[in-house]
């Protein structure tokens, strides 16, 4: 069917999810109550703001992820041709992965991979 299937699937997804939500909205009885709008914290009232600071560790992992994800993007075209190119491709990827691995070891040594 070709690329038209992308449009089809997006429409399907929106129709499916949107239809279910609209149907549900149309047939559900609702009631007003000021407590319904409160954040759910198992019955205890929320203290302070809900958009809190979270651990900076997530940010570090996101940074390291970014490097490796870019590496993965480079590996995709390489993986397709490696069988036809042969040993040259292997040597190149060993150099590439070695440099990356040094960076990975550095991050490890610095303690970036340690959860705190």
């Amino acid at each position: 069917m070709g690329a038209a299937s992308l449009i089809l699937l997006i429409i399907c997804g929106l129709a499916f999810a949107g239809g279910a939500l609209l149907l549900s909205n149309a047939i559900t009885p609702g009631s007003k109550n000021s407590q319904k709008g409160e954040p759910y914290e198992c019955g205890v009232e929320t203290r302070g703001q809900s958009w809190i600071q979270f651990n900076v560790g997530y940010y570090l992992f996101a940074l390291i992820f970014l490097i490796f994800d870019v590496e993965l993007v480079f590996l995709y075209p390489w993986a397709v041709v490696v069988k036809s190119v042969g040993v040259v491709a292997l040597v190149e990827i060993v150099i590439f992965l070695f440099i990356l691995f040094l960076g990975f070891l550095y991050a490890h040594k610095k303690g970036a991979l340690k959860w705190q």
Binding site: S5, G37, F61, F65, F101
Partner: protein, 359 residues
Amino acid sequence: MISLEHISQSIHEALSASLNPTLVLLIEMAIAGILVISLFAVLGLVLVFMERKVSAYMQIRLGPNRVGYKGFAQTAADTLKLLIKEGLTPDGADKFLFNLAPLLVIVVAMLIMAPIAFTKGFQLWDINIGVLYVSAVSSVGVIGILMAGWASNNKYSLLGAMRSGAQIVSYELSAGLSVLTIVILVGSLSINDIIASQQNGWWIFKGHIPVLISFVIFVIAVTAETNRAPFDLAEAESELTAGFHTEYSGMRFALFFLAEYVNIFIVCAIGATLFFGGWMPFHIGSWEEFNHVMDFIPGIVWFFGKIFSLIFLIMWFRWTFPRLRVDQLLNLEWKYLLPIAMFNLLLTTVMAITGFYIK
């Protein structure tokens, strides 16, 4: 023999005979759309029921057995219940993003269906970068989760979303690397080429130990990517209530739930395609008689059989392994899976270049 390929072709020919191409495309799109939506609905019902029954039998319980025959109608009843529940939106929430998130998650789950080959010639889009497409689109799903968690204006949701995001992006790497081993051996990113290369045996049998290692890494990584136990810290009930969908109720919650199960189905479909030959029947080399007997079982039966076996494996994990802590989770990925996957990639490259595998 009647196959889905023949049916779809004869529909196409019958339509093309009397109508102009645009109209034919539109009618075909309508049919495909109905099929995809019904696949979604059926998958949701079947997988939730399967999960509950598998869990029940693993714990020596009976599971749902009141509604319908042996409880088959239980999920339908649950869906009906969720449909008539009121969907609440917290006062402090970012209303637009809060409502957008479930839609986004569903649309992403649906988009990944495009390149999956259900049986020979029965595929929505025969794209030549199928594997890359799947990994690219599936990584958009995490945006929906972060969006849901942030927009809820709830501490549990925010923490759950952050954990979920860190976990999904981390495990994406080793999943991607293990997928690459098959790409190296096949030399193509197209789903159809990958399936065709398994004509004389599945990669799990042909690829020696490197493919086995990458299969194990793949299964661990996709279990984490779909937020399944033992990696379900994002919705660890005892600490975070329900994680990123704490504030969701009614139909919006049902959509998240459905997307979660459809994602399990999709990753298992990808795993079945890469390592177990997709719809390709079980073939042994060029043993014609045996292969011919196996060909009598339709491809779609093979494909769904493989997928559901993998899904069963993932459901089994849930009742075997205890939940990991967040530091253990990240350690497992960054200190074990990723280096092993990288080393395994090199090993596979050597194997592919020297030709030391069953061609």
